[in-house]
């Protein structure tokens, strides 16, 4: 059997055919080195270990997070032999792996997004408290979901929760969570808040919530957001971008709604306080009214007394004006034919007159009339 003979281009084509057949795609894990971005579009870097190094080529569209030399990455790529530049791995996806690299990637991305102002306190919006309707983005089978629902039901069962089932780890999680956030934002009848939760896990498990796409989706949400990822010690970029950051799903439920028992107690205290205030006010007004009433009665009493004194005075004066009083002093009333005689009048000698004294009446005849 003789060895095949190729010209150079034929050899390149034959080798590429062999790669396509044997390894149409391969996953390689190694340390990132010589990482650079050309013309804001092309990625060039090497992936290496202690003994070997491979050249890699890709586009920025495959980047899901910030990368830096020294980070351990996992790439999915096609091996290719270029007719001019030699062998390289054509990268289809790249992601940091291992806790150190993930943290490093998150730190780099955090610095980038911080510069853009995504985590500024000024961007934080106030959530309605308590909300009446929320969208919950979580995995329905997770412990975090169960904890959240249990606490909400115990504290404030008056809330409507629309659950959006998502992947919270793995390759599909970033797209799944991002799509759910966008979908809720496009609803015509929107909830008052979006709550994104996930229970604890390894740094790799939680990495979707520190990815650029999820962090940006949270920051871009028109509906206020609450994000709680992992345990208290965990921190994700999505939490930093959220309007409200909770340490755990349980904590998110506690921050989102009040405890109805506390509210009932507070309302009861407020009612007692208001009752007391109203009672005090009523007592004060009643006292004022009593004072006014006393003043009024005193005024009327005084008026009546004054009028009575006036009436008594009139009574005495009136008594003195009675003609009978004059008769008591020895005067007499003289009438002729029933009419009072004043002066001489028409009296002539011989006329009959009636003389009224204090206690008697006399009928007499005029014997003489003289002018005085």
């Amino acid at each position: 059997m003789t060895d095949p003979v190729f010209d150079v281009s034929g050899a390149v084509a034959a080798l590429n055919q062999t790669f396509d057949y044997a390894y149409p795609s391969m996953v390689v894990v190694g340390e990132l080195s010589s990482f650079k971005v050309a013309k804001s579009k092309w990625l060039y870097f090497d992936i290496k270990d202690d003994q070997s190094k491979l050249k890699c080529f890709g586009t920025v569209f495959q980047l899901t997070t910030a990368l830096e030399d020294g980070m351990i990455v996992e790439i999915s790529a096609q091996p290719k032999l270029h007719n001019l530049y030699g062998f390289s791995l054509n990268v289809q996806s790249i992601r940091p792996v291992g806790e150190g690299s993930l943290k490093k990637a998150a730190t780099l991305l955090q610095q980038k997004l911080e510069k853009e102002g995504l985590f500024d306190l000024a961007r934080k919006r106030k959530l309605p408290y308590p909300p009446s309707h929320i969208a919950l983005i979580a995995s329905g089978e997770s412990a975090g979901y169960a904890d959240f629902m249990k606490i909400i039901k115990a504290r404030w069962p008056y809330i409507t929760i629309d659950h959006y089932e998502v992947y919270v780890q793995g390759a599909q999680s970033e797209e799944s969570v991002t799509s759910a956030i966008r979908k809720v934002n496009e609803l015509s009848y929107q909830p008052e808040a979006i709550v994104v939760i996930r229970g604890g896990g390894s740094a790799d498990d939680l990495s979707a919530f520190s990815s650029e796409i999820v962090t940006r989706a949270v920051a871009a949400s028109r509906i206020p957001t609450v994000v709680a990822i992992g345990h208290e010690i965990d921190s994700s970029l999505a939490e930093l971008a959220a309007d409200l950051h909770a340490s755990t799903p349980s904590n998110a439920a506690e921050l989102l709604v009040p405890d109805r028992l506390d509210v009932e107690q507070s309302l009861s205290s407020s009612k007692k306080f208001l009752d007391r205030v109203i009672e005090d006010e009523l007592m004060s007004r009643r006292s004022e009214l009593e004072d006014i009433s006393d003043d009024l009665q005193s005024y009327i009493k005084q008026f009546i007394a004054s009028e009575r004194a006036y009436a008594d005075k009139l009574h005495i004066r009136l008594s003195s004006y009675h003609p009978q009083q004059v008769l008591k002093h020895g005067y007499a009333l003289v009438r002729s034919a029933g009419k009072l005689v004043r002066g001489r009048g028409s009296l002539e000698s011989g006329d009959i007159i009636e003389v009224e004294l204090e206690s008697s009446k006399i009928t007499a005849q005029v014997s003489n009339v003289e002018e005085s």
Binding site: K301, I304, L314, H315, L318, Y321, H322, L340
Partner: protein, 63 residues
């Protein structure tokens, strides 16, 4: 139905009669007696008014 006279009506009428007595405006003893009788009635009416007012006032106080 005749309108009931007010305290003020009675007081005014009484003052008018008293004014007549004060200024010796009577030229007839009968008219004087008639006015005297009217004034006495008016005084009694005035007294009733004041008594009724006192009763009302005491009632408000006890309420």
């Amino acid at each position: 139905m005749a309108k009931q006279r007010t305290y003020k009506d009675i007081r005014t009428e009484l003052d008018t009669i008293m004014q007549k007595f004060e200024s010796s405006a009577h030229d007839d003893v009968d008219e004087m007696l008639k006015d005297h009788s009217t004034a006495t009635d008016l005084l009694a009416e005035l007294d009733s008014y004041l008594k009724a007012a006192e009763v009302k006032l005491n009632k408000y106080k006890s309420d």
